[in-house]
């Protein structure tokens, strides 16, 4: 059956701030339509209106010509619109079946009809050719498969409209391919697919049309095949960014060895050895779970080492806690901003001063003025967009939150700075700023370790690249010398290919 979704003049404002203004677009069966825009462009608000979380101030939503009035998320689901959010909407301790049938578990005489429900769920899993079972606990699945459970849930609900909010953010490149296949299959079956992502390449790989938004306004809608990524960036940021990587003012002068690790071994690592120098931007590529984060956690004193040496400035050290790591001049911006990096309920100032509290003490007491000076300096240095340093950090955009953590670590005057997925889920403009910051820091003599799951990014931002696979280092490459191509890194990241 053919479906058609029409959004007409949708407007919404919060506390007098216009989040959406006159958004109009339509999508029909067998189409993948991307929603593109920087953070704060209004994509999430739009999704939340479509899913019954918010109610629009003005405008109408029509599905198959019928006007929709949602008062709750359940309404939206029943009417046929299912959103798959970045944060999983799953109950991890329950089985795949129980999650797939969450709000509508099949019952017989008031008892759960496990046989029937499991069989029906398994049929859906098999239809997508996935390797897990209906009776598996969701917590035992990997992130990619957990996401598939959400997709199966949407399919089970027979929703004609399925929207994806940054579905690839937690996935590795090979898992993304799997997701693409499934999304394309859904398209063939006549679903209307809405797709939100920051990664431009994905839009070209997957989508038919792109709806570009900026500051709550619908800028344009284009056929993906008729534009280039430069075009999209220009629509999205309102100016021509050119090629961000070409514009990067790189640090190419590499100095003394700062950090050397030899044969690090623990539960996750096997004989990891590498070194980092002054002014070096050292990239770490690999699949999720390849041991990149685990390597850094071991160096930073979070996880224990079974064996191996860590040398800082040529001297062997033993680091048992992040606090000790800080004493050796190491800083680490963790991969999960919200859960590992920030105290979301505290303000920008408090999140910045956190690691350098003694420096804002005067006469034994915390000094508000010193703390504000520190925060203002960081806000200025990194152009963090916040009205004051007293703003609660939860209310900043992802890119600005990342800069707050960066600023915190810069305040500790590190010699070695580890950035774990610093650009995850942030928009193009903010990414470019972070790349430049990384090279500025390198110019100041800091050795920067840059972990990223986006291959293009690692290859283009970092001077040297370490590739890991299953806890081992499988390749060490130089950007200039080796003319690193994505294929080279990818094959090293999936070790079995070059065996």
């Amino acid at each position: 059956m053919e479906h058609e979704l029409l959004l007409k003049n949708i407007s919404k404002s919060f506390s007098g701030v216009q989040a959406l203004k006159d958004i109009t677009f339509q999508a029909k069966s067998g189409e993948i339509v991307a929603l593109l825009g920087e953070n704060g462009a209004g994509k999430s608000t739009l999704l939340k209106i479509m899913s019954g979380v918010y109610f629009q101030d003005a405008g109408e939503i029509y599905l198959d010509g019928q006007q929709m009035h949602f008062t709750s998320p359940l309404d939206a689901i029943r009417s046929g619109i299912n959103i798959i959010y970045q944060e999983r909407q799953l109950v991890y301790d329950l089985t795949v079946m129980e999650n797939v049938y969450m709000e509508n578990i099949p019952a017989k005489n008031g008892f759960v009809d496990y046989k029937n429900a499991n069989a029906r769920t398994q049929a859906l899993i098999d239809m997508f050719g996935l390797p897990f079972k209906a009776t598996d606990k969701v917590s035992s699945l990997n992130v990619a498969h957990q996401q598939m459970v959400e997709i199966i849930k949407a399919v089970r609900r027979k929703c004609p409209v399925i929207a994806f909010d940054e579905p690839t953010a937690p996935l590795t490149d090979s898992e993304i391919e799997g997701l693409y296949k499934i999304i394309r299959k859904l398209r063939e079956e006549g679903k209307i697919i809405l797709y939100v992502s920051h990664r431009l390449q994905e839009l070209f790989d997957l989508t038919d049309r792109v709806v570009v938004m900026k500051d709550g306004v619908h800028v344009t809608t284009v056929h993906t095949s008729e534009v280039t990524s430069q075009d999209l960036v220009r629509y999205m940021v309102g100016r021509d960014l050119g090629d961000i990587y070409d514009r990067l003012d790189r640090c190419t002068k590499i100095g003394e060895t700062l950090l050397e690790v030899k044969n690090l071994n623990n539960k996750w690592l096997k004989d990891v050895s590498f070194s980092l120098h002054e002014g070096e931007v050292l990239g770490f590529a690999g699949l999720i779970g390849a041991g990149r984060t685990e390597t850094m956690r071991a160096i930073f004193g979070v996880d224990k080492l079974d064996s191996g040496q860590i040398l800082i400035g040529g001297r062997e050290v033993s680091i048992r806690s992040p606090k000790e790591a800080m004493k050796y001049g190491i800083g680490l911006c963790p991969e999960d901003r919200k859960h590992q990096g920030l105290v979301l309920g505290m303000n920008v100032r408090e999140n910045i001063s956190m690691s350098v509290l003694p420096s804002v003490v005067k006469n034994h007491f915390l000094n508000r003025q010193l703390e504000e000076e520190l925060a203002d300096k960081v806000i200025k240095q990194f152009s963090i967009k916040t009205p004051t340093s007293g703003k609660v950090v939860k209310e900043l955009s992802g890119g600005n939150q990342q800069k707050v953590i960066l600023g915190r670590w810069i305040s500790t005057n590190p010699k070695i700075l580890i950035l774990d997925e610093p650009t995850k889920g942030i928009d193009v403009g903010a990414k470019a700023e972070i790349y430049q910051t990384v090279h500025d820091l390198a110019k100041a003599g800091i050795g920067v370790i840059f972990i990223s799951s986006e291959l293009t990014e690692v290859i283009n931002v970092c001077e040297n690249i370490v590739v890991m696979y299953e806890g081992r280092i499988t390749a060490q490459l130089n950007r200039e010398k080796d003319h690193v191509a994505e294929e080279t890194v990818l094959s090293a990241a999936m070790d079995h290919l070059n065996k």
């Binding site: 506390s15 992040p322 800080m326 963790p334 505290m346 690691s355 007491f365 915390l366």
Partner: protein
């Protein structure tokens, strides 16, 4: 929009901040009871309100620290009762009261270490860990006293709980106020206090930012137990006896006061001023009810209603802020 000042309505001011809301409630409580009974706002009665708040108040200080840090201590009142018995027994055995009190405090500190070890080393939820310790303390109190009150005859020790400076302010009230001010300053003005908020707000982020959550919470558990042990000693002095049944449930009252005062059970939020006002609202209400001749059985009902009202007001304030 800019430069144009909107006149703030009374409701805006009242709901502007948590302490303001609480303060207004406190004032209303005092006014209502003063109108109903002329004796309510006498100096004598005011002192009584503070005096009867000392045990719960001291415990509320420890709980406020711990709850902000994302922990909790349900063992304080059992510890206080046990400690009252121990101090009474030691004094009875002829040990000078300062030494007896110090031994009591040392035992308190040891209980704090146990609480911290259970929560931090064995990762037992603080609620469960301290509940278990509470049962042990309660039992030990009964075993040592054989379930009977242990009389104290040392005048000097008794005066610690009963002497009134200038004939007006009892020593325990002075201790309570001193603790509130001292701990309030620690919490708001020192790096240690800031770290309490940070570990309560996000324990993992704190750890990765070079703060040791286990160290901070250990200090707080010990502090909370020390305050509990002290409260138990003072209570025994006030009652002239060490009783294994003394102050049962006082720690729950302390937690109620803290939460009424805006301390969030989820951690990372609250302060000593709020806790103090929360405590005062409950006490003024309780004393007010007895002054106008309402049965003390109603005090518990009133406490529950006050807490519900405070939480609803908090919800209303959040909703207004979102708009």
């Amino acid at each position: 929009m800019m430069g144009e000042k909107r006149k703030k309505s009374f409701v805006d001011v009242v709901l502007g901040s948590n302490s303001m809301t609480l303060f207004v409630i406190w004032v209303i409580v005092i006014l209502v009871f003063s109108v109903m009974n002329a004796n309510y706002h006498t100096l004598q009665n005011t002192t009584n309100i503070f005096y009867s708040a000392t045990t719960v108040g001291l415990m509320a200080i420890g709980e406020t620290f711990l709850i902000i840090a994302g922990h909790m201590d349900l063992s304080i009142s059992a510890l206080a009762a046990m400690n009252g018995v121990i101090v009474a027994l030691l004094i009875q055995a002829g040990i000078p009261w300062p030494a007896a009190l110090l031994i009591g405090l040392a035992i308190g500190a040891a209980v704090g270490v146990v609480n911290s070890a259970l929560a931090n080393v064995f990762n037992i939820q603080p609620f469960i860990a301290t509940l278990a310790v509470s049962q042990i303390c309660e039992g030990v109190g009964y075993i040592l006293s054989d379930g009977r009150p242990i009389p104290i005859r040392d005048r000097a020790f008794i005066s610690l709980g009963t002497y009134k400076i200038g004939g007006i302010v009892p020593i325990p009230v002075l201790i309570l106020l001193a603790f509130f001010i001292f701990c309030g300053v620690i919490l708001k003005k020192t790096t240690f206090g800031r770290k309490i908020y940070i570990i309560g707000g996000n324990r993992e982020a704190a750890h990765l930012a070079g703060i040791d959550p286990k160290k901070i919470s250990t200090v707080l558990y010990i502090l909370s137990s020390l305050i509990g042990a002290l409260a138990g000693g003072i209570l025994a002095a006030r009652m002239h006896t060490g009783q294994p049944t003394a102050c049962a449930g006082a720690d729950l009252d302390a937690i109620t006061a803290a939460i009424l005062g805006g301390v969030a059970l989820s951690g990372g939020k609250g302060d000593m001023l709020g806790c103090f006002i929360g405590l005062m609202i409950i006490q003024c209400f309780n004393t007010g009810l007895s002054v106008i001749g309402v049965s003390s059985f109603w005090q518990s009902v009133a406490k529950g209603l006050l807490l519900i009202m405070a939480l609803i007001l908090d919800y209303v304030r959040m909703k207004r802020m979102e708009q």
